[in-house]
Symmetry: C2
Amino acid sequence: MKQLKTRILSDGVAVGTEAVKVDSFLNHQIDVAFMNEIGAELRRRFADIPRDGIDKILTIEASGISMACATATAFDAQNPPPVVFAKKGLPRTMTDEVWFTEIMSFTKMKMTAVRIAKKFLQPGDRVLIIDDFLAHGQAAAGLVNLVEQAGAELLGVGIVIEKAFQQGGTLLRSQSIRVESLAVIDTIKDGTITFQ
Amino acid sequence: MKQLKTRILSDGVAVGTEAVKVDSFLNHQIDVAFMNEIGAELRRRFADIPRDGIDKILTIEASGISMACATATAFDAQNPPPVVFAKKGLPRTMTDEVWFTEIMSFTKMKMTAVRIAKKFLQPGDRVLIIDDFLAHGQAAAGLVNLVEQAGAELLGVGIVIEKAFQQGGTLLRSQSIRVESLAVIDTIKDGTITFQ
């Protein structure tokens, strides 16, 4: 997505050789009109999936929520697929049965519990995973794990920014998972971001 | 908002006398079309504020994000105000200067650090706060505190579900803060939810 790459170059901030901050438009402050365009582009990347071929869009709190909702709206504004977001941390009272996994956050350098109420991810559900970043692939792999636990069907993974120099994309694609990324970063070096 | 009350009665689950679970459409699974209507109604409640009278919509991760984005789109789909969501927890590296406060979560029974990068909330910004619930008012009061720290101007607080039997609404209105709630719950008793 050309407009996204342009925006990353103009407003993104390279941090060392591994990270890019896009908090001015994607994951702290949200440019809502641009986010709606990102949703439309993610939907286009999965244009072969008709509205009646998808049951749920799955993401993880918090940054994935806005783009997941925008993608759902782009599928069908009148009848969008529901968005389910996996929750981090453990609830005070585990009143519902949940699918549960743990993911390693390299940003925060800790393991995080992740869960989805079983009633919102069921056997046979056809699920598209949407998230902001694909880096080491921990969050995506965790969501894929939850889909597998549920006996749901994974349609693919839609990502806004993939960092190709980390192994997340390779990890997912090696399992024959379809991954569509709107911008793929090859390297971050001396403050310069290079796309594939 | 009649449709919201109907939905709470049909899909909400009363928990004891203090809580109602709306995780099937609002804060775990999201009914995106309904969320867009909630955004449109929140915008109508602040219809006296023209698009050029608002600079930012402020919310807190994670549940507030979808309704804040929907409200922003309802202000002007082509040129929505940016949404800024306050982040919970402390970052690994505090590279940006932040406005910082702590809020007590009665759901989780713990204090949570909350922060916004100073560059995204500046003196003079005209800010509308949007959130899913108003209960004890801790989250809203925390956001109001951040707005005050920044020297920004608070236009009001838009809430999807207010629980009138907890003191959040009273707390805010006693400070002459304009609060608009789409559904106000009076009591939760024996599994029955009663609206004001």
